[in-house]
């Protein structure tokens, strides 16, 4: 064990900054975010942000890079996708929605980056693919295989992948709108999420499967 620190654990503080920064960046974007807001949310002083991460830019990039790393490592690793296409599709939808549910700020941050032009996306996406393959890549490969074996209709794997993640992620990002338009989402968002899992699977499975195959 190292020598005792003057005050609380430094790692703990850095973690609090990370989480606070993620939340604020996710809501307001890189330029809209205020260092004061991040400091307040982390329960520390503004100057301490600059002690850990010299500039706002570096803090933003650190958060961004960390989320990508975490996404590839924790989500992708647990994906098997070695069953029938129907099993794989349900598994992916369930896990993807669960992951986004637990990492909504990450999804919002990525969307903000896209809206702002996405200058950071290129390198990180490329790196994620180069290492172990992203969850999307895995599922896309499963779609391609199912098309080749004739398990599903001859759809474009890329378009299909886009349709799946659209159906799974979009509603989180427009949650304020969804809660205005759907009573269930407003009163019990978790119940709404479970209903959505089932709906997305049913529609997409029937939409992809060959006629004659039922659920």
């Amino acid at each position: 064990m190292p020598e005792p620190t003057t005050k609380s654990e430094p790692q703990e503080t850095e973690q609090r900054i990370f989480e606070a920064a993620l939340t604020v960046f996710a809501s307001k974007g890189r330029d809209g975010a205020r260092m004061q807001d991040i400091a307040d949310r982390a329960g520390i002083n503004r100057a301490l942000l600059h002690y850990y991460f010299r500039t706002k830019q570096q803090l933003y990039q650190a958060v961004f890079a960390h989320l990508f790393q975490q996404y590839v490592n924790s989500f992708s690793e647990s994906l098997q996708l070695d069953g029938t296409f129907g099993e794989n599709l349900r598994d992916f939808i369930d896990r993807y929605i669960d992951y986004v549910r637990e990492h909504q700020d990450m999804a919002r941050l990525m969307m903000n980056e896209n809206l702002a032009g996405g200058s950071l996306l290129g390198e990180h996406l490329a790196k994620a693919f180069a290492t172990k393959g992203s969850p999307q890549q895995k599922m896309q490969q499963a779609i391609r295989k199912a098309v080749e074996t004739g398990e599903i209709r001859p759809v474009c794997p890329r378009q299909t992948m886009l349709t799946i993640i659209s159906s799974c992620a979009f509603f989180f990002l427009i949650a304020p709108t969804v809660k205005v338009m759907n009573p269930l989402a407003a009163t019990d968002f978790d119940a709404f999420i479970e209903a959505r899992k089932q709906h997305v699977f049913e529609v997409l499975y029937h939409g992809l499967a060959l006629k004659g195959e039922a659920t």
Copy 2:
């Protein structure tokens, strides 16, 4: 004709401010936007922004309200949805994607507002529904009817509507990501859009239709 103005048409200037403000707000959000950027893009001075719209807040709200008005009036009016469900679905998908294509900044602005909490969404959404019904409301009604007549499987109209707009709008908002992952989207986005229209219709139609009905 009214008396001649000192310089150029005032209406023209206000319009240019509107469009410039929309683009900047759409990219950076309400707080991230800079009045200087808007003025530059509109080709005028910063002070003139305050002459037309006193504050940044008022400019933002004016742009937001105008877009809602325009959306309900121009898009909703042209929707018929009086054919078979398949015809209605294809019609909606084509028109919705075309509308978002021509109003990408509006879509981005709405997403930014959602990400920031959506405090402006409630009243405007409520007002849009109260008047003539939004395009979404119309299509949702068509889904409900098709379920009742047995034309399609007994799906939840609200969930289905969400799946349709997710599949039609999400890819515009993450265009930077899509262009990294899909070669066609990077080289010819218009061709990609047309391919997407077809894909979304096919998957969703087969996903909703009763077995035995083909395209």
